[in-house]
Assembly symmetry: C2
Homo-oligomer: 292 residues x 2
C-alpha cells in the first residue's frame, strides 16, 4: 500500500468539494488556482463549472498549472420517459465525452440516472427494471463512441438511498456485471468509479473490488460517512470525521491494482461549504496524509 504520510502526491480534489466557499458559489478558475497554490496535482471538475468557466480556457489554465484530471464529472442520466428523451441523453453524453477529451481526462464518470422525473419529485414511471434497461442500452451506445475517440467510461454505483433519483446502479457487483457484458475483453474502456461513500456498507465490497481489478478500477473517490447523516445528498463528512475504515478500503483497492489518484468529493451544505476554500483544501491535504 502506498505511503501517503509525507506528501499529497496522489490527492485529487473533486471540485464539488469547494464549489461553495463560505456559502457562496466559487468559479472554477479560482478553485484551480487554489489547488495550484497547494501543489495539488489533479482535480475532477464538474461539467457545469467547466461550461461556466469556458472549456478551452479551463484546458489552458490546467495545462499552465500542470494540473491533470482524475476524472470528468459527469455523464449518465440515461433513463427518460420517451424516445426523444433517450436520444437527448445520448447526445449529451457524447458532448461530455468530447469535453473530457479536450481536458485530457482519464475517464468520464457516469452517474447513470434513476427513475425519470424523480429528481423533480414526479416520476414518469416507477419501473426501476425499465430504468436499468435504459441505462444498460445508454452505456452501450456511449461506449461505442467512447471507444472511437479513446475515452474510458467509469460507471459510479451510487448509494441505494439515491436509487430513485440519481442512479439505479447501486452496487459494485451490478456495475461490474454490466462491464462484463459490454466489455468482456476488459479493454480498459469501461470500468467503475469506486466512491467509498456510496459502497462502504456493502458486505461484498472487498470481494467485488478484487473482481474489478486494475482494468476496471478507473477512479477512486472518498470522503466519510457521518453519524447522524442529516441529508441524503449533501451531508458527507471529511475523511476521518466519519465511521468508514478508509485505510482498509484503500488497501483493498490497491491490492486490486489501483495506482491512481484518491479523489476527495465532499458535498457538505451544513459544514465544509460554509468554510473558506483554503481551510477545506488544507484539511483535505492533512487528512489525505493521516486518514486516507
Amino acid at each position: 500500500m502506498r505511503d501517503f504520510s509525507n506528501d499529497h502526491h496522489w490527492l485529487s480534489i473533486n471540485t464539488a468539494t469547494v464549489r461553495k466557499q463560505r456559502g457562496i458559489e466559487v468559479p472554477l478558475d479560482r478553485i484551480i488556482d487554489q489547488c495550484a497554490e497547494r501543489g495539488i496535482r489533479a482535480i475532477a471538475p464538474w461539467r457545469d463549472q467547466v461550461m461556466a468557466a469556458g472549456l478551452d480556457k479551463t484546458a489552458k489554465q490546467l495545462k499552465a498549472h500542470g494540473i491533470g484530471l482524475s476524472g470528468y464529472c459527469r455523464g449518465g442520466f440515461y433513463p427518460a420517459p420517451d424516445a426523444a428523451g433517450l436520444k437527448a441523453a445520448l447526445d449529451d453524453n457524447r458532448r461530455a465525452i468530447d469535453e473530457a477529451k479536450t481536458l485530457d481526462a482519464p475517464c468520464v464518470v457516469l452517474v447513470v440516472g434513476g427513475l425519470p422525473g424523480a429528481l423533480e419529485g414526479k416520476v414518469a414511471y416507477r419501473d426501476i427494471g425499465r430504468a436499468r434497461g435504459e441505462v444498460f442500452d445508454g452505456i452501450a451506445a456511449s461506449l461505442e463512441y467512447a471507444r472511437e475517440v479513446g475515452m474510458p467510461l467509469a460507471i459510479e454505483p451510487l448509494h441505494p438511498m439515491q436509487a430513485a433519483d440519481r442512479a439505479c446502479i447501486n452496487t459494485l457487483e451490478h456495475a461490474l456485471d454490466i462491464c462484463d457484458e459490454l466489455d468482456p475483453q476488459q479493454t480498459g474502456m469501461l470500468g467503475v468509479a469506486l466512491d467509498i461513500y456510496h459502497v462502504w456498507w456493502d458486505p461484498k465490497l472487498e470481494q467485488q473490488t478484487a473482481r474489478a481489478g486494475k482494468q476496471r478500477l478507473l477512479a477512486y473517490h472518498l470522503c466519510d460517512w457521518r453519524t447522524p447523516t442529516r441529508d441524503l445528498l449533501t451531508d458527507r463528512a471529511m475523511m476521518g470525521d466519519g465511521v468508514v475504515e478508509l485505510k482498509k478500503v484503500r488497501g483493498w483497492v490497491e491490492a486490486a491494482g489501483f495506482e491512481g489518484f484518491c479523489e476527495v468529493e465532499i458535498f457538505s451544505s451544513l459544514d465544509w461549504w460554509q468554510r473558506s476554500g483554503e481551510e477545506t483544501l488544507d484539511t483535505c491535504i492533512e487528512r489525505h496524509r493521516n486518514c486516507v
Copy 2:
C-alpha cells in the same frame, strides 16, 4: 397472487405507523382499539409500547379483540464495545423472545444493530466487519434459545443508509447467507423480514426473494419510498404515494410462497404522524386494497 381489492383481511398495522397521532404519542391500548374498530386482524407492536401498556394486559386485550400479531418489534442490536455489552444484548433478546411468546407472535423481528455508539454519534469502533461478526454470533446464541421455546427469528435487512447506526445487515442476500449457515435445515426457526422500504432498490431482490422461499419469508413489511426523501429514518411514504412497484414485489413474495400478513410500517414525522390515527388507519385500509 391474492386479491386484496375487496377486503383488508391480510392487512397488519405495525404500531409505529400510528404511535404518534396529531404529533402526540398514543398509548398502545388506544391503538389496538382503533385497529379493532376497523376490523384489522393483526398488528406488530413495539416493545417499548408493550412495556408501557403492560405485557399481560396487552395480551388480554389482543385476545379479547381477536387480534393477532404479524411480528414482534424487535430484537437485535447485538454489537457492543465489550463483553458485558454483548452479554446484555443477548439477555435482552432472550426477554424479547419471552415477551413474543406471551403475545403469541409468529416471530421476533431482528434489527441487528450497527456500529456500537453510532446512534449516539460516537462509535466505539469503526470495523463493520467486526460488527457483522458480533451480529452473527448474537443471532446464533438467540437462535439456540428461540429453538428451545419455539419462537422464530426474522432477520430484517435495513436500508444501507442505516448500516452504521441500526443494522449492518443490508441486503436480503446477506441475511439469507446467515440463515443458510445457522439453519441449513430450513427449520422455519430462522428467516427474514422483508421490508420493501429497505430492499426495493436491490437489483437482486427478485432472485433473493425466490431463494428465501416460504420457509424463510417470515414477515413482509411495506410502505413506500418518497421522492425527495427528507430524512433517513422518518420520511416513509404511504403506499401509493412513492415510487416503489408494490404489486410487483408482492407478486414475487407470494410466488415464493408467502401467504401471511402485509404489515404496514410507516415512520413519518412530517406527514402521517401529524394526522389523526383514524385518517392514517383508514388510508392504510384503502391503499391496502388499491395499491398493495
